[in-house]
């Protein structure tokens, strides 16, 4: 699946200051019965977001009109647990383009990158500043500049640089995916297979 290009993003944020947000919270297993990638956004954080009868719970941040934006800011260690890519599909399906946290679970990070969702890992201190700034003023904007690997609180800082694998960066900047790359080296794979059979 070709992914959306990601170059620079300026947006307000949705804060979720909870640690260890696991994939069963991001998208509970009972919603994994679909056979396409669409529609998962409606059930993002379903058990926190809706009550038993399917009515929105007022106190959950996604139901609070004060907060909106294309960036989800989450507590330490987001995405632990299952390998379900549905978690990334739910987050992108809802409309997020980036997730900021001080720590990401491995598979979740990979899955995000494979879907054009940018995981931005920042220091604990920066994350704390971000949460505070958003709490003080929900209209606070941040800028994520992938080219320069820099995340900044607008209008005038603080900012921090973040890491990303150079190969993945290239993929995101250009909107191409791993399979395109691997299909292109098919001959090399055949050679390897011949040498190892």
């Amino acid at each position: 699946m070709p992914i959306d290009k990601f170059v620079k993003l300026e947006s307000t944020c949705v804060p979720l200051p909870i640690e260890n947000v696991d994939t069963d919270q991001i998208i509970p297993a009972r919603f994994l019965k679909a056979t396409t990638r669409e529609g998962f956004g409606d059930n993002l954080f379903a058990d926190w977001r809706y009550d038993k009868d399917g009515n929105p719970k007022k106190d959950f941040v996604l139901n609070d009109p004060t907060y909106s934006g294309k960036v989800l800011v989450a507590g330490q260690n987001i995405g632990s647990g299952s390998s379900r890519e549905h978690a990334a599909w739910a987050i992108t399906g809802y409309g997020f383009k980036a997730v900021v946290s001080s720590f990401f679970a491995d598979i979740f990070k990979n899955n995000s990158l494979n879907n054009g969702l940018l995981p931005v890992q920042v220091s604990k201190e920066f994350l704390e500043q971000l949460f505070q700034a958003i709490e003080k003023d929900p209209a606070t904007k941040i800028e994520i500049d992938l080219e320069n690997q820099k995340i900044s609180l607008l209008p005038e800082g603080p900012s921090e640089s973040f890491e990303i694998n150079p190969y993945k960066k290239k993929c995101l900047l250009n909107g191409f995916d791993d399979i395109d790359y691997l299909l292109n080296i098919s001959e090399e794979i055949t050679k390897w297979e011949e040498a190892h059979s």
């Binding site: 699946m1 200051p17 909870i18 640690e19 260890n20 696991d22 069963d24 919270q25 509970p28 297993a29 009972r30 994994l32 019965k33 679909a34 056979t35 396409t36 990638r37 058990d47 038993k52 507590g75 330490q76 260690n77 632990s80 647990g81 299952s82 390998s83 379900r84 890519e85 549905h86 990334a88 720590f103 990401f104 679970a105 491995d106 598979i107 990979n110 899955n111 494979n114 879907n115 604990k124 694998n165 150079p166 190969y167 993945k168 995916d177 791993d178 399979i179 790359y181 691997l182 299909l183 080296i185 098919s186 090399e188 794979i189 390897w192 297979e193 190892h196």
Partner: protein, 466 residues
């Protein structure tokens, strides 16, 4: 030059090429597929108009979504039925081997791979499922992947992967009576937390690990993902070879000798260096149980839930939320708390040794009246074996019933859901909020601790009966 670790030996052998400044292209020996994480990958192949590159290297099973009663009937839930049927269609269309519902080899993907002898030392193994780490118990590199990566492996038999860091966790000495491999792994996670091994591939070693059976080793590697690890592994040895020998897909005759000779070269060299190394004493471990909503929130069963001030400041809001969800008080002991459900099963503890341990414990006792128990074998072969050994009968005499194989209440995608607010002692691997059903309250433990709860109706130290 320093020697190599088990991990490095296998990894290096499977690198096809390296992307400049980027990941490696890793060749994949075995690919397991199940109904939940594969439909979008097959659809991706169709969109691109390409085939499965090496269909004979992929094995599919239906496990997550299937009922554990009445498997001879069509699946009642429409979406589940559709997904399971979709898998069958995709396998048919792309020429992939399927051990689907009612196939004699059907079962949970991480149970059938090892028991059929498909999983072998030195292999690279992936599946769109985080508990693929289970297969590492055989001395293979096995890890979970997302659906885009499933598509990648189907299309190219390779994956783009960054080499993880390596960690060795040693457990030295002898385990006390009543302490089993599930307790070891819950103990490690309680020590290092759910992110403690993120970015690492973990090798488990030490005399306590070496003394374990293959099935016990699988339980540990299975839950390595719960400490954040990319995967877990254990060096192959005589126990490993003994287990594989004679299984359906094990090498035969001269091939066998050759294979064992190769496998003997795999263990970590004495002078190899790990990025990180941890050592624990087996004698410090007691039967473990979790009190919270992630697998790191575990304690020795005789201990009490931590007090709020004992929890790291930044974690306190999460801890409080967790206590609220579980309706537990910080500082309280767990012993004596009422239990409603007992679940024995899953790719963590749904193998024959687990059923044996449970059956031996409850033999001659009775199920407590307040308990609903679901005993779910991990595969048809496990079910058959339990039948043969008289385990089903022991269970029935004590008031338990054995269901049909599948993932069941481990993730509650089928009808096996723990009702809201109920407490379950579960031998599975995740106690996340809602994992076993909306509002379900899960406490992870070993089959022995589950058995003790099943006959007493409350949290009980299994050692009281030994």
């Amino acid at each position: 030059m320093a020697g190599k670790t088990l991990f490095e030996k296998i990894w290096d052998k499977h690198v096809v090429t390296k992307v400049d400044g980027g990941p490696s292209v890793l060749y994949i020996d075995r690919h397991f597929v199940h109904e939940v994480t594969s439909p979008q990958a097959f659809a991706g192949l169709k969109d691109r108009g390409i085939k499965v590159r090496r269909p004979e290297k992929t094995i599919a099973t239906a496990d997550h979504n299937i009922p554990t009663m009445g498997q001879d009937q069509p699946i009642r839930d429409e979406l589940s039925r559709f997904q399971v049927n979709k898998l069958a269609q995709n396998c048919e269309e792309f020429g992939v081997n399927l051990y689907g519902l009612n196939h004699k080899w059907n079962g949970i993907v991480h149970v059938i791979g090892p028991e059929l002898g498909i999983t072998k030392p030195g292999m690279t193994i992936v599946c769109g499922d985080s508990h693929t780490s289970t297969h590492g118990a055989f001395g293979s590199i096995a890890f979970g992947i997302g659906t885009s990566e499933v598509e990648m492996v189907l299309a190219t038999q390779t994956l783009l992967q960054n080499k993880p860091k390596t960690m060795r966790i040693n457990i030295e000495g002898e385990l006390d009576k009543g302490v089993v491999s599930k307790d070891i792994v819950l103990y490690i996670i309680s020590q290092i937390g759910t992110g403690g091994a993120t970015g690492y591939f973990v090798e488990f070693a030490g005399s306590a690990i070496r003394s374990l059976s293959m099935e016990a080793r699988m339980t540990i590697c299975n839950m390595s993902i719960e400490m954040g690890a990319r995967g877990g592994m254990i060096a192959p040895d005589e126990t490993t070879f003994e287990y594989i020998k004679g299984r359906e897909f094990a090498p035969q005759g001269a091939e066998w000798e050759k294979a064992v000779e190769e496998w003997r070269q795999l263990p970590t060299d004495d002078d190899a260096v790990f990025d990180k190394e941890l050592t624990y004493k087996a004698s410090d471990i007691e039967p473990m149980i979790t009190y919270g909503t992630n697998p790191g929130m575990g304690i020795g069963i005789s201990k009490s839930i931590p007090k709020l001030e004992e929890v790291e400041k930044s974690t306190q809001p999460t801890f409080k939320k967790s206590m609220e969800y579980m309706d537990f008080q910080a500082g309280d002991p767990l012993i004596g708390k009422k239990v409603d459900y007992v679940f024995v099963g899953s790719c963590t503890n749904g193998r024959i040794e687990d059923l044996r341990a449970f059956a031996e414990f409850i033999k001659g006792k009775k199920k407590a009246d307040n308990i609903t128990a679901w005993i779910v074998p991990g595969s048809h072969k496990v079910e058959e074996q339990a039948e043969k050994e008289g385990i089903r009968q022991i269970l029935e005499e004590a008031g338990f019933e054995m269901r049909q194989p599948g993932c069941s209440a481990c993730l509650a995608m089928n009808d096996d859901k723990i009702p809201e607010g109920n407490y379950a002692v579960s031998t599975s691997n995740r106690n996340f909020e809602g994992r076993q059903g909306p509002g379900a309250r899960t406490m992870l433990a070993s089959p022995l601790t589950a058995a003790a709860a099943a006959v007493t109706g409350k949290i009980t130290d299994p050692r009281d009966f030994l």
